[in-house]
């Protein structure tokens, strides 16, 4: 009477919803610029580290897609689906299953962040030319950096509360 696939799928769906909700709700301005940081990476990284794949890739792709649709950038939704999906997949794939410590997750997080920054740089350059692509790098670096810090802090606590997660 077990139904593990359903559990995984509902978990991924709710984590997508959480990532989207946080991204739409919390926007932290970056001092000195008129850009802002969203919490999209926090949801993707935390889900990917805690639950591995397929949750990681689903949360990345699903939330990337839905955020763009809900926030008013539908033209971007397919790019985001691919970029965030790859990002989530990479972090989930590279994180060891039974070690969620900072040491074990820092490399996956850096790879995931690089994928996101480079991915959006290329997509922006494709649409608007290379100056716009390069301009995207700074704000995206803030975004992934912030996401990594919060995700690491969060994972540290969540692992303790739900020993079953690891």
């Amino acid at each position: 009477m077990k139904h593990d696939a359903l559990k995984t799928n509902t978990l991924a769906a709710v984590m997508i919803a959480l990532t989207v909700a946080l991204s739409l709700l919390v926007r932290i301005p970056i001092a000195g610029t008129n850009g802002f940081v969203t919490l999209c990476e926090v949801g993707i990284y935390t889900s990917a580290i805690l639950f591995g794949n397929p949750v990681g890739v689903m949360v990345g792709a699903g939330s990337g897609f839905l955020i763009d649709i809900l926030a008013g950038y539908p033209v971007w939704c397919l790019f985001s689906l691919v970029i965030h999906g790859t990002q989530g997949f990479a972090v989930a794939y590279l994180t060891p299953e039974n070690d969620k410590s900072l040491k074990a997750t820092i490399f996956p997080l850096i790879v995931g962040s690089a994928i996101m920054v480079v991915g959006y740089c290329l997509a922006t350059a494709f649409l608007y030319g290379w100056p716009a692509g390069i301009a995207s790098i700074t704000s995206n670096l803030f975004q992934v950096g912030f996401g990594m810090v919060v995700a690491v802090l969060l994972v540290k606590s969540l692992v303790k509360f739900k020993p079953s997660l690891t």
Binding site: T10, A17, L25, V37, F65, P131, A135, V150, S157
Partner: protein
């Protein structure tokens, strides 16, 4: 604008390709005409479109200026200093980029205002159906997207509630440097994640109790119907596409 969401999704993807392919004056005239035509057909107040442009204004200006300063050699040179120069060709390229920005923003706004997110998700799932042949669980993904959409407002409400509770306990959200802000988010994020895990667990039990086995063996209540207006819009776009290819400078 009551097009089938599948038509809209395909068109918007197609549109990006078009914007990318267009590189001559005439091709842009056609694109702008098509976009304006779509906007007029939607009968939406132009103010909304201007609102969509505002947040990206600085990025557009920055891109245009940089694009101009790093002009390629071509046409008349107006200004030259070290490796910076402004040329006719550069101005044209910058102009094209600015137009691209405006077109894409307008199309985005148009889509957002005329389509329910749920329809876009259903549309995406429907378009992905051929992927079934390569064993992609398309129906499961569609179901998940729909559940995710359904939970977004619920979790937003909950996030606001927890933020208020922690604010009442003296947390200052949105103050201090980025690291401080990251720290202040923890009392919000931990309860929110824990609650999301519980919701997912409850939801899977409820779905099972309601007879859900897997997404492949189900009938569909919500279906999309392809109308004649979808075909007509497609034809218009196809003609536009052909025209742009003709006027494109190869």
């Amino acid at each position: 604008h009551r097009l089938d969401p599948r038509a809209k999704l395909l068109l918007s993807f197609f549109y990006i390709v078009l914007v990318f392919m267009a590189n001559s004056l005439w091709s842009y005239v056609i694109l702008v005409a098509m976009t304006l035509g779509a906007i007029l057909a939607s009968k939406i107040n132009l103010g909304f479109f201007l609102k969509g442009i505002r947040p990206l204004l600085w990025l557009i200006i920055f891109t245009v200026i940089v694009q101009m300063l790093f002009s390629p050699v071509g046409g008349h040179t107006y200004f030259h200093w070290a490796f910076l120069r402004i040329t006719t060709l550069g101005i044209i390229t910058a102009g094209i980029i600015a137009v691209r920005f405006l077109l894409i923003i307008m199309t985005s706004t148009l889509l957002t205002l005329t389509t329910q997110p749920l329809d876009i998700a259903t549309g995406l799932a429907s378009l992905m159906k051929p992927l079934r042949w390569v064993k992609v669980p398309v129906d499961t993904l569609a179901m998940m997207l729909s559940i995710a959409l359904r939970f977004v407002p619920t979790l937003m409400d909950e996030a606001v509630k927890i933020m208020n509770a922690q604010r009442a306990r003296g947390v200052d959200f949105g103050e201090g440097n980025l690291f401080k802000q990251a720290h202040s988010l923890i009392p919000l994020m931990i309860p929110l994640f824990m609650s999301a895990f519980n919701r997912a667990e409850d939801l899977s039990i409820a779905m099972e109790a309601r007879g859900y086995q897997d997404s492949e063996h189900r009938s569909q209540y919500r279906i999309l119907t392809w109308h004649r207006r979808d075909t007509i819009t497609w034809l218009i776009f196809a003609i536009g596409f052909a025209a742009i290819l003709v006027f494109r400078r190869w």
